[in-house]
């Protein structure tokens, strides 16, 4: 089994999702089910095949390096859970 309880705790930490201890084993079982199923891909010979990340066929367009938008503090903060003086407020990060 590729994923055990410890791995789930590690993934949850990377994903910044709190997963209670008692849920970790159940999630490990689910993830293993999915990962065993996707292992089917190993049947495919992909030697010398380049990964395909985008189907657009065009490279990302360049534009002039100029300011086209801005000065929208009220709009940016319109849905904020907590703000003061035009800033986002978060729990203290430096003692």
């Amino acid at each position: 089994m590729p994923v055990d309880k410890t791995t789930v705790a590690k993934i949850a930490r990377l994903a910044r999702i709190h997963v209670p201890d008692e849920r970790q084993q159940a999630i490990a079982t689910e993830l293993n089910g999915i990962l065993l199923w996707v292992d089917e891909l190993n049947e495919v010979d992909t030697e010398n095949i380049e990964p395909l990340a985008s189907v657009t066929g065009h490279s990302l367009p360049m534009r002039e390096d100029i300011v086209t938008d801005g000065d929208r503090i009220d709009e940016v903060l319109a849905n904020v859970p907590a703000s003061t003086g035009g800033f986002f407020v978060v729990p203290k990060v430096v003692e």
């Binding site: 994903a15 999702i17 709190h18 999915i34 380049e50 990340a53 367009p61 319109a78 907590a82 729990p91």
Partner: protein, 493 residues
């Protein structure tokens, strides 16, 4: 007019132009229909007052001879599209109450052409699901019913969009399709749904799920109406760097083109073990209809088809885990207060995201993590190239491909499945088009023994939506499908 709800969008446009009906009358009828079918839970927000204002403005423009393509046509919008001043939540608790200050490009295009916004439609949370059962607002219900009267799913993720169009509570609707989220619900609800070529419709202002696969598209009750909505919503947008600067074909003209001389591929790999015999029959029926209309049917092979789903379930969660990192409780949306910043992130995301979304973020995080990136993520992207190559080879010899839209008809709400993989199989016929970036259309083709609709899927070359509308119209004419779901507005229950 006695039954305004039975008019198609093209018909309604002409009745509006001749002043046989007014936009306010039509919109009022749809608002009443949405209220009448509230038990189907298709709308998560009905914007009646706004709709009536837009309709009044449409009537004024029609009077001045300034009508747009969609002038006065009432449209429902999947809750994944940002609509300025109206909640846009992706049907997730983490975006509860989120009210954008900007409008998505696609919806802005609709309003510019005179469309009337009826409200926001139910969908799977962050478009992750194939039954509309992961929505924070509860499941949307399909207006179709079997004899036992059980509630059926409308499919997903754009379940509310497909169900509302079928139930006559929206004349047209927008959806998005990352792995089948337009075509599968369209088939389950007996309506027409198009996933355009990747890049046709701007993704700007649409809540992102898997950015290399996501594409917006139209829902309607017939093929001609679908072409009308597509014509209005598509177009190049500099605000989306993957938007394609390729002129849209004349889709209305394509409707009368027919399939004479067209070569249509039938892929051997889409015949599955233990496939529902009624699905096999309708697929055969579709082939007969196209042949009778002058098309040449060609057996083709898409050898990597069986690997599309597992590749998709690596690529889509990987992109989702990255896209959904933005929901951190800092700038918008839900926040769970905590002592430290890290704890606030983790608690906010644990409470704000539903089970399926958490599962996909965790899978995505795992396949992108150090030591697994090559084995899973890059492997899946290599397989993705092989899948696209299969289609490129096939399209050297055929103009379109015909497949079933789904492996089954709609199933009951709350159907218990032991493992998540079973749910993924709903998208077995639709996922390859997303991986390859192709346009695909689901067209209702018949009714099964349980009185439920079954759909067919057409696929075409990139940027050749016109071929889908030409062949889709032929299928629609031959099928003579009558969509009268029992729980529609003004229906029997």
């Amino acid at each position: 007019m006695a039954d305004m709800l039975e008019l198609g969008a093209v018909e309604a446009r002409s009745a509006l132009d001749t002043r046989e009906i007014s936009a306010v009358e039509l919109t009022s009828a749809y608002i009443a229909a949405a209220e009448d079918t509230v038990g189907l839970n298709n709308y998560v927000a009905l914007t009646a007052e706004h709709a009536l204002e837009m309709a009044a403005a449409s009537d004024a423009r029609i009077a001045k001879g300034e009508a747009g393509l969609l002038e006065g046509v009432p449209i429902g919008v999947k809750d994944l599209f940002c609509t300025a001043g109206y909640t846009s939540t992706a049907c997730s608790k983490i975006l509860a109450g989120f009210t954008p200050t900007y409008e998505s490009t696609v919806t802005a295009n609709l309003w510019r052409e005179g469309g009337v916004m009826l409200g926001k439609l139910n969908c799977d949370e962050f478009a992750m699901g194939s039954a509309n059962e992961t929505s924070a607002y509860g499941p949307a219900i399909n207006p179709w019913q079997t004899a036992d009267g059980a509630d059926l799913v409308p499919g997903g993720s754009s379940g509310g969009s497909a169900a509302a169009v079928a139930a006559r509570s929206a004349l047209l609707a927008t959806g998005t399709d990352t792995g089948g989220s337009i075509r599968q619900p369209a088939a389950f609800c007996g309506v027409v749904g198009l996933k355009p070529t990747y890049g046709r419709c701007s993704r700007w202002g649409i809540v992102a799920f898997a950015s290399s696969l996501d594409q917006a598209g139209p829902f309607s009750r017939n093929v001609a109406d679908n072409a009308l909505l597509m014509q209005a919503m598509a177009g190049f947008d500099p605000k989306d760097s993957t938007s394609a600067d390729v002129p849209l074909q004349d889709l209305s003209a394509a409707l009368t083109r027919g399939v004479g001389g067209m070569k249509i591929g039938i892929p051997a790999e889409y015949v599955l073990d233990g496939m529902d015999p009624e699905v096999v029959t309708i697929w055969q029926q579709g082939q007969d209809w196209l042949r009778a209309a002058g098309a040449e049917l060609v057996d083709i092979s898409l050898p990597h088809t069986k690997y599309a789903l597992p590749a998709y379930y690596i690529i889509a969660p990987a992109e989702a885990s990255s896209n959904l990192a933005r929901y951190d409780g800092v700038r918008y949306g839900k926040r769970v207060e905590a002592e430290s910043l890290d704890e606030m992130y983790a608690l906010t995301r644990a409470e704000g995201f539903g089970e399926e979304v958490q599962r996909r973020i965790m899978i995505g995080t795992y396949v992108l993590s150090a030591g697994y990136y090559d084995a899973y993520y890059l492997k899946a992207q290599r397989v993705r190239r092989l899948i696209r190559n299969d289609f490129e080879t096939a399209f050297e010899n055929v103009d379109a491909i015909l497949t079933p839209a789904t492996p089954s008809a709609a199933f009951p709400v709350g159907r218990k499945v032991d493992d998540p993989v079973t749910n993924f199989l709903n998208d077995v016929f639709t996922v390859p088009a997303n991986l390859a970036g192709l346009p695909g259309m689901a067209v209702p083709a018949g009714i099964n023994g349980d009185s439920l609709p079954l759909g067919l899927q057409l696929l075409a070359r990139p940027f050749d939506e016109a071929t889908l509308y030409a062949a889709g119209q032929v299928l629609e004419d031959a099928a003579g499908f009558v969509a009268n779901p029992p729980r529609r507005a003004g229906g029997v229950s």
